[in-house]
Amino acid sequence: MLLTVQQLLMLKKASLETLYMVSVTTAFTVLAGVPLGVLLVVVRPGHILENRWVYRIVGLIVNATRSVPFPIFIVFVIPLTRLIVGTSIGSTAVIVPLTLAAFVLMARLTETCLLEVPHGIIEAAQSMGASSWRIITRVLLPEALPGLLMAVTIAIVTLISYSAMAGMVGGGGLGDLAIRYGYHRYQTDIMWATVLILVLVVQLVQHVGDKLVLRFSRR
C-alpha cells in the first residue's frame, strides 16, 4: 500500500486538526471538569461542605448533559457555539461541543477518584484544624493524583474518538478524512492509514498516562 504525496499531505493536515481539537479541548476539560468533580464530592451528604440541593442540581445537570449522544449534542449547542466562537463550523467551533461533552465526563471521573480517598484521612485533616480549602487542595487532590491522571488519559482517548464526528460541521480531523475518502470515495488505503495513526496515538497516550500514574502512585 503506497500513498500519493497528495494523500500524505491530507493525512498531515487532518492529523494536525485532530491534534489541535483534542489538545485545546483537553485543557478546557481538565480546567473545568476537575473543579466540577471536586464540587460533586464535597457537597455530598456527610462530606466537608455537605449541601443537598447543590448536590442534586449539579448532579442532574451533569447527568442530563451526559445523556445526549454526541452527534446530536453538536447540533443542539450550535446557538451557544455561534455565541462563543462566532461561527458553528470548523475545527475551532467543534471545540465548544467537545468541551461541554467531555468536561462532564471528566467531572464524573474526578468524582470517582476523589471518593476513593479514605474518609479517615479527611477526618484526620479536620482533626488537625485544616480548612475545607486546604483539605481539597492538600489532601483530596494530591491523594487522588494517580487516579486523576488515569481519568485524564481516559478523557483524552474519548476526545480523540469524539473528534472523529467533527466532520459533521466541517471540523476536519482524521475521523472526517476516513469517512469522506475512505468510505464515500472507496479509498480504503486512506482509511487504513487514519486507523493506523489513531491506534498509534491512543497507544502513545495510554502509555504515557500509565507511566505517569506509576510515577505518582504511593499506595
Binding site: 479536620q126 484544624g129 485544616a130 492538600r138 489532601v139 504511593r218
Partner: protein, 339 residues
C-alpha cells in the same frame, strides 16, 4: 476544674425506624494530666464519644467543654483553632499516602501557618521524639504498622496540643507493637504533661497505662473509677467480662469438673500485699491447707496486682477464721467465696 467536661451527651445516627442511639446521655470528666481510658465492646458508642470531643461528630444534645469552653458553640474558625490544641490518632493511622513521614508531620504545621524553616526543625524534633528520624523520607506504604502509628503520634503532637485523643490507636497492631506504642504514649504524656483519652476494646491497654477508666455499654457509661479499683472490684457484668479477658476466669476451671473439697476463695491484692506469703501464713496460723488453683501476678500501670484462687481445706471454723483474717489484711482488695 476538669480539662474535659462532658454533660448529658446524646448522639443519634439515622432517623425514623433505622435510627440508632449511639450515646444515651453520657457524663464524664477528664482531669488535666491524666490518662483516661474508655473501654467497651464494638458498638458501645466509645468511638462516637471521643469523636464528639473534637466535634468530628456533632452531638444532638448535651455539652462538651474543653478548658472551660463549650465546643459546640464555637464558629467554624474558632473550632479549627480549638482543634489544633487537641491531637488525635486513629486505628487505621490515616496518614497521607502521597506524603513522606516528614511530609505527614508537617501537614498540621502548614495548616497552622508556620513558616518553612520553623516547620523543618519542628518536624525533625517530632520524628526524633517518636524515634523515627531515620524514616523521614519514607512513604507510609514503606512503613510497618507500628512505624505508621509513630508518624501519627508525631503528627498529632505537631502543634503542641494539651490533649491527645486515641481512637483504638493500637487495635490494628500486634501485641509487641501495641506495648511499644503504649510505652511511647505514656512516656510523652509524662514528658509533655499531656491529658490523654484512650478508646479501646482491650482491657490490657487500660491496665497498662490508664489512671482512670470508664466502661461503656450500649451508649452509656456503666462503671467508672480509678483503674485499680474498677479492675479489682468490677460491679457491672460487662466490666467483669473485660477483667476476665486479662485475668483468666475461674469459671472455666469449675466447668471442667473440678470439685472443691473446702471453701473456694478468690483473693485480689494490690501493692506490697502481693509479695506477702499469705498462703503460708494461713496454713501456719489457722492450720488450714490452702490449695492454689490459680495464681496471677501482674501490674496495673505501676502498681503490682495479684489474684489467687484458693481451695481452702480444713475444719469449717478454722476456714472461716482464715478467710476473715485474709479479708482484713491491708492491700487486700477483695475476698470472695465462690461456693
Amino acid at each position: 476544674m476538669p480539662l474535659i467536661e462532658i454533660k448529658g451527651l446524646r448522639k443519634i445516627f439515622g432517623n425514623g425506624m433505622g435510627a440508632v442511639e449511639a450515646l444515651r446521655g453520657v457524663d464524664l470528666e477528664v482531669a488535666e494530666g491524666e490518662i483516661f481510658g474508655v473501654v467497651g465492646l464494638s458498638g458501645a458508642g466509645k468511638s462516637t464519644l471521643v469523636r464528639c470531643i473534637n466535634l468530628l461528630e456533632r452531638p444532638d444534645a448535651g455539652t462538651v467543654s474543653v478548658a472551660g469552653r463549650d465546643m459546640t458553640s464555637l464558629s467554624g474558625r474558632e473550632l479549627r483553632l480549638a482543634r489544633r490544641s487537641m491531637g488525635m490518632i486513629f486505628q487505621s493511622f490515616n496518614l497521607l499516602s502521597s506524603r513522606t513521614a516528614a511530609g505527614n508531620v508537617s501537614f498540621p504545621l502548614e495548616a497552622a501557618g508556620a513558616d518553612r524553616v520553623a516547620v523543618r526543625t519542628r518536624v525533625q524534633e517530632l520524628l526524633d521524639l517518636v524515634g523515627l528520624s531515620d524514616k523521614a523520607g519514607s512513604y507510609p506504604s514503606q512503613l510497618s504498622g507500628g512505624q505508621k502509628q509513630r508518624v501519627g503520634i508525631a503528627r498529632a503532637l505537631a502543634n503542641d496540643p494539651r490533649i491527645l485523643l486515641c481512637d483504638e490507636a493500637t487495635s490494628a497492631l500486634d501485641p509487641q507493637t501495641t506495648a511499644s506504642i503504649l510505652a511511647l504514649i505514656s512516656d510523652i504524656q509524662r514528658r509533655l504533661g499531656l491529658t490523654v483519652v484512650i478508646i479501646t476494646h482491650e482491657m490490657k491497654v487500660i491496665t497498662e497505662i490508664c489512671d482512670r477508666v470508664a466502661v461503656m455499654e450500649d451508649g452509656s457509661v456503666v462503671e467508672e473509677g480509678p483503674v485499680a479499683e474498677v479492675f479489682t472490684r468490677p460491679r457491672h457484668p460487662v466490666t467483669r467480662g473485660f477483667v476476665e479477658t486479662v485475668l483468666k476466669s475461674e469459671s472455666g476451671l469449675l466447668e471442667s469438673g473440678y470439685a472443691p473439697k473446702g471453701r473456694l476463695l478468690r483473693v485480689r491484692m494490690t501493692g506490697d500485699a502481693v509479695q506477702s506469703p499469705i498462703t503460708g501464713d494461713v496454713a501456719r496460723l489457722f492450720g488450714v491447707s490452702p490449695v492454689i488453683l490459680q495464681a496471677h501476678v501482674d501490674r496495673i500501670k505501676e502498681t503490682p496486682f495479684g489474684s489467687l484462687l484458693l481451695d481452702l481445706q480444713g475444719p469449717p471454723d478454722k476456714v472461716e477464721q482464715a478467710s476473715a483474717w485474709l479479708a482484713e489484711r491491708s492491700g487486700t482488695m477483695l475476698v470472695e467465696t465462690l461456693n
